[in-house]
């Protein structure tokens, strides 16, 4: 167990790091707007998933994570792994907004010679811990990092976001079985439960329900939140672990395409890229929500 004094020190350092607190609504809106512009410019896919997870990302990087954009590899930093690596545009937008690299980089998303691939990459991109893309990889890696933190007596925490469709992958369930066995209460998994996967609704393709009960049965402490209610997300993320000795799971009920009326709950926006007119309309909707 980590000494109380050391833990307090780390908390204080984290608080200093988080002194620059943006408005979460503004940050989430910026993440959405950047993501829309990026996928439009790149004619890329996956805008729906970027919009569904924007609020959770905003809370994580605006309030929760003890990270420092001036020292992205600070050893005591909290680790965040985006296992659903196709949400890359939103992830890059979040890091750029928080000062990890210049906002200018976002224009290069998926362009020839760019560092910013369509599935997140850690090479030369400050703030990205792990490259992902193929699903089912983030949770096992996060478990390894959490285990190292425990055994080393380090105070950092590990957060990992998985998609709902991703939970079809068996490797996740290996890790879901593993983490409680090793009492990894420094690990938090967030499910971006937007109910739509690659070829259809989660219910139709491979039903996950009862999802919370499944995590509980495997030994996780579970909370369910509205993944677009900032206060709810913040409350859930700020008080992990929920139980000493148990990893925490947050099931964030979200809406694919959230924030742009014609994209919400539409499978097509897993693939489509907004044209100029659609982009303009989407940005106007975001602006009207100020």
């Amino acid at each position: 167990m980590i000494a109380g004094k050391k833990q307090a020190q780390i908390r204080q350092m984290g608080e200093e790091v988080n002194q620059n607190k943006p408005s979460i609504h503004d940050l989430a809106r910026a993440i959405r707007a950047h993501s829309l512009r990026m996928v439009h410019l790149a004619k890329a896919s996956h805008i729906g998933t970027c919009l569904s997870m924007a609020d959770v990302l905003a809370v994580l990087y605006g309030r929760v994570l003890r990270v420092d954009s001036t020292q992205p590899c600070w050893p005591q930093r909290d680790r965040f792994i985006l296992s659903k690596g196709h949400g890359a545009a939103a992830m890059y937008a979040t890091l750029a907004e928080r000062g990890f690299f210049p906002l200018e980089w976002l224009k290069t998303y998926c362009q020839d010679g760019s560092k910013l691939a369509g599935h997140i990459v850690h090479h030369a991109v400050p703030g990205i811990e792990v490259s992902t893309g193929s699903l089912g990889h983030g949770l096992p890696i996060a478990s390894g990092m959490a285990l190292a933190g425990k055994r080393d007596g380090s105070g950092y925490r590990v957060f990992v976001m998985v998609s709902d469709g991703e939970l079809d992958e068996g490797s996740n369930w290996e890790a879901i079985l593993f983490a409680p066995h090793h009492q990894l209460d420094n690990l938090t998994a967030i499910v971006d439960y937007n109910k739509i996967q690659s070829l259809g609704g989660v219910k139709e393709v491979l039903d996950l329900e009862p999802l919370a009960e499944k995590w509980k049965a495997f030994g996780w402490a579970v909370r369910e939140v509205n993944g677009h209610e900032v206060k709810e997300i913040e409350d859930a993320l700020m008080c992990v672990p929920y139980e000493v000795g148990k990893p925490s799971a947050i099931i964030a009920h979200t809406i694919k395409g959230k924030g742009v009326s014609f994209m919400e709950n539409q499978l097509a926006w897993h693939y489509k890229s907004p044209n100029g007119e659609e982009l303009k309309k989407a940005l106007e909707e975001l602006e009207a929500d100020r």
Binding site: S134, I141, M145, L147, L177
Partner: protein, 305 residues
């Protein structure tokens, strides 16, 4: 070989507490001594190779030197995407160890034969492939891969492999060990086919043919210099491996020869056909079936010389 490995690893771990050992619930009577001495650096992940490789990556990215341990093809194929996307993509300091390379688990059946592993792992970027020739090389190899940052695949036999080296030769990753000098041809073996290669050299000597024997304990990066020298200085090259012929040591040597634009007088590849056998048997039986005995290899070489 597995005993030589675990003893070497325990000795190294005494001086370097960053060394971890993960097993996928295998290694009875092997891993216990490490677990006993270093309980905080040992982990039985359970029968879950994909998770094991992800956890190994997470640990390695937190500063650990992580060995994953399993048997035959299990630590390679079940978790190949984790090896590619997690370990290699991040150049993570993970050392994948298999016990029972080739057909060491002979009568267990094809499910337990590691005969495509070299081909698969050769294709992985950043991956180093080491298959020591005997227990002496195994000790040196274990030390060498701890000292080298990045992914490595260590392919071991099982138990009872004969000691070939009477003294400990100089060992460096990527440098073939010359076990015997000769100029009529060069026998290049990987893994514990080294003993077979030495026996072939003895049989050839009786026929008046002087064979150079190289232990190619590193399949990647292959020792191109030793290969080129063998092509230039001896009358031919024969590769010997307990692995199917597609993509293994023979292919790696052929790549070097092709890329060097060298004409080797003769080139033989001895290995396992890319087919499935309908019967099982001991490792020796399966080697006989594949023509991987000193007598059969010698017969073919003498015939074509």
């Amino acid at each position: 070989m597995r005993t030589a490995f675990i003893e070497a690893l325990c000795n190294l771990a005494k001086h370097d507490r960053k060394i971890w050992l993960l097993t996928g619930d295998l290694g009875y009577s092997v891993v216990e001594q490490f677990a006993r001495q270093f309980p905080d650096c040992f982990l039985n992940v359970g029968v879950a190779e994909q998770n094991m490789m992800g956890i190994a990556t997470g640990l390695a990215m937190s500063g650990k030197i992580v060995f994953t341990y399993s048997i035959a093809n299990f630590p390679v194929m079940r978790c190949l995407e984790q090896i590619r996307n997690d370990v290699c993509y991040h150049n993570a300091n993970v050392k994948i160890v298999t016990v029972g390379g080739g057909m060491a688990y002979g009568s267990a059946g094809y499910s337990h034969h590691a005969v495509e592993d070299l081909a698969i792992m050769r294709a992985m970027p950043n991956m180093v492939l080491v298959a020591p020739g005997d227990p002496v090389e195994t000790r040196s190899a274990t030390r060498a891969i701890v000292g080298r940052q990045g992914p490595c695949y260590l392919r071991l036999g099982k138990s009872g492999e004969p000691v070939v080296h009477k003294t400990t030769p100089q060992f460096a990753i990527g440098n073939a060990i010359t076990v015997r000098e000769g100029t009529d041809l060069t026998l290049m073996s990987t893994g514990d086919m080294l003993k077979v290669a030495v026996d072939v050299a003895d049989l050839l000597a009786a026929e008046g043919i002087g064979a150079r024997v190289l232990s190619m304990h590193t399949v990647k990066p292959i020792d191109a210099e030793a290969t080129v020298r063998a092509a230039q200085e001896t009358g031919g090259i024969a590769t010997i491996e307990e692995h199917q012929l597609v993509g293994g040591l023979g292919s790696a040597v052929a790549d070097v020869l092709q890329d060097s634009n060298l004409k080797v007088a003769r080139f033989w590849r001895f290995g396992i056909a890319n087919t499935l056998s309908g019967t099982v048997g001991s490792q020796n039986h399966l080697r006989q079936q594949a023509g991987l005995t000193p007598q059969e290899i010698t017969r073919k070489l003498v015939l074509s010389l």
